[in-house]
Symmetry: C2
């Protein structure tokens, strides 16, 4: 019997009716002859409610106790879902992470899965039961509860699919797939039927909130076919149809897959640019600037060192908004004097726009079409960063929507490049 | 170091402030040199909220999944309490029932504790930590979660105190002790400083809601000194003073303990009386009537068989209100014809009033003082039941308060009978 793993996000589990909806969907797959493992998130809002309580109790709640607290959200939703599936006359049983067990390291609030034991799950599936497993959590070597961090249920689902060698891991949520870009910015944005793992990884790390990046990495490591699809459709749509909906993240080098060189455009406003002016252009200056920043656990995104003019240079880099104050402090108090910078400039009014496409590997001129398109719109590029399958630029944030729309059109993402898959 | 177990009810855990209050109280005992294990209930209303969700999902939710769901309430409150204790600069750690583990049988929703492992708890206490353990729940042999039924946290606390050989188990709640009767009915009711285990057991089984009867039984079995006291006092009252507050349930045959022959009056409206009239007075008739009732798992409380008149008799018994419909059905459909009863009468307008006192063992005339007192108030007694330390009567329910007040006065419970304990 084919085995699939289905993960449902918090919105899909947000009320009694929605949970019943999920149960109907699961029952349909069970009736169609599939073994089904379901991984639900906590009911929407529940994790926030619990962690707010924790912060009312203590300004610095212990990480271990936060995990103990937050883990209850998925335990409750899993039990409710098992009841709802049984109400559909399908045998079901819920398990917590520690009952499976899903073993993790002991990095509370951001633990990593080390091993999943499959024996117990397999036995329940073989008895014809649907198995519901709490997402987001596991148990460490000493039997303490751990959680995987925000969005961790995606990772749980993929890890379980990998351990159980499932045919597919279906991630149900309130979005119906991966789009060429955000349809709220570009109404012509199209849903992709297939996207390569590498592209999805870039899109996830560039701020697309569809999938947690660790879930994508996990899928890549174990080559788990991953489908992102909607939980808002009629739960009774035929299994064959649902199996083709959404976006499939694939590891196949399928010529059919796509013919577009660029498949998606990502963007993020969560960037702050720091510039140190008049820095002497000597060896080790980059380390002298970024060393203290890295030591403070601040994630640096893009880095730019200008060409040297008369022995001095300007050095710029970007960080996330949440790190703005701490970065500013470090630069002004520790770094500026040490490296002899004449000035420290902080600029929060920037954004990052990226084009992503596996086709870029084999095509030249992609980046230059991006630059030409932005130039034609009179948008000044402040920083550039490239990888094998993406090019990102930092521009003034007021141009963000304009840039995304212009690029979407220039790379013809509003047109269907897919070869027919099933027609 | 002396070890105490402190249990806090749902009302005591009902808000962030109250949890912080509990934490202050616990920190005080820790500072006074005690090892402390805390057993909190779920935040008030939480268990009901969860079980209502379950019943919205399914009219007949699985017992196993209900336990999975309900167990989250105590897990969350335990984690929050551990955080609050740490915020008082006292090291603390929370554990679920399965982490201890608290082993139970697999009777979901009403499991019984079979064994508690103490090693892990002992190690944490020896490191100077306060240990918070979820009440109400355990784990069965196969690793499934179980709960102990309503009020089960009392039982958890007593069982943990027994396993750890604690000096005392303190049950904190919104009542400040055991009273001679309900002060809402008799304003002169007095708090008892000490009550015998046997009396407490009778009071608990007669409907006093202060302690779960299984907790009292457990305390008796392992001779755990149990104190019922208020969580609404100033959390900073000195340890010595708190140690003497509330009511101590004791196993000592201490002459000092009390001089009153009757120590408390209990009452309950939760009684329905059934009478079968004109039943032939033949051997086996009681079994013929009550056998089918017992087979339906209906708890019969008081039983009365009238003296036979011309070969027939009347047979009466009482059950709880919740069993009214089912009992009526069984009597009318199965029993009446089989035993040849001429009529089945159901009467819900009755109540039970009981006097309880260990002194009754050695004193005659206690029951007759009860009957005389009721006669003087023109209250007709419908049924009587006695045990070594209690006498219960069934009367018309409109006389309940009158009867309780008259008995409270007749047995001089408004006067202090205690020998001085510590003055």
């Amino acid at each position: 019997m084919p085995l699939i793993v289905q993960k449902f996000g918090g919105t899909s589990m947000g009320s009694v009716e929605r949970i019943q909806n999920v149960a109907q969907r699961v029952a349909k797959w069970h009736a169609a002859g599939y073994q089904v493992i379901v991984v639900p998130s906590a009911m929407s809002g529940e994790t926030n409610r619990l962690l707010e309580l924790a912060h009312e109790i203590s300004p610095t709640p212990s990480d271990r106790e936060q995990d103990m607290l937050a883990a209850t959200g998925e335990q409750a939703s899993s039990a409710l879902l098992a009841m709802a599936i049984m109400a559909q006359d399908v045998p079901a049983r819920s398990f917590t992470g520690w009952q499976v067990p899903v073993r993790t390291n002991n990095a509370y609030t951001k633990a990593r899965i080390t091993h999943i034991e499959t024996e117990r799950i397999r036995a329940e599936l073989d008895q014809g039961k649907v198995v519901v497993i709490t997402g987001f959590q596991g148990v460490d070597e000493e039997g303490h509860l751990t959680t995987l961090g925000r969005g961790g249920s995606d990772t749980s689902a993929v890890a379980i699919a990998a351990a159980m060698e499932a045919e597919e891991c279906m991630i149900f949520s309130d979005v119906d797939g991966v789009y060429t870009t955000d349809p709220r910015v570009v109404p012509e944005a199209r849903r992709m039927r297939v996207i390569s793992f590498e592209e999805m990884l870039e899109l996830a790390s560039l701020g697309t909130k569809i999938l947690q990046i660790r879930a994508v990495e996990f899928a890549g490591k174990y080559r788990v076919p991953l489908r992102v699809l909607s939980s808002l459709t009629d739960p009774q749509i035929p299994v064959e149809e649902e199996r083709k909906s959404g976006t499939l993240i694939t590891f196949e080098d399928d010529q059919n897959m796509e013919s577009a060189v660029v498949s998606g455009i990502a963007f993020s406003r969560d960037e702050t640019k720091f510039s140190l002016l008049g820095v002497p252009d000597t060896p080790g200056v980059a380390y002298a600037i970024l060393g203290p920043v890295a030591a403070a656990n601040i994630d640096v995104d893009m880095i730019l060192q200008n060409q040297s003019v008369q022995g001095t240079t300007d050095f710029s880099f970007t960080v996330q908004h949440t790190d703005f104050e701490r970065t500013k402090e470090i630069l002004e108090n520790e770094v500026a004097e040490a490296v002899g910078a004449s000035e420290v400039i902080a600029d929060s009014k920037v954004c990052k726009v990226s084009i992503v496409g596996i086709g870029m590997r084999n095509h030249v001129g992609i980046a230059s079409l991006m630059f030409r398109t932005l130039a034609e719109e009179n948008i000044n590029i402040q920083m550039i960063s490239t990888s094998e399958i993406k090019t990102s630029v930092i521009i003034e944030d007021k141009y963000m929507e304009l840039a995304v729309r212009a690029l979407h059109k220039a790379f013809e993402l509003d047109q269907d490049h897919y070869a027919p898959l099933d027609e």
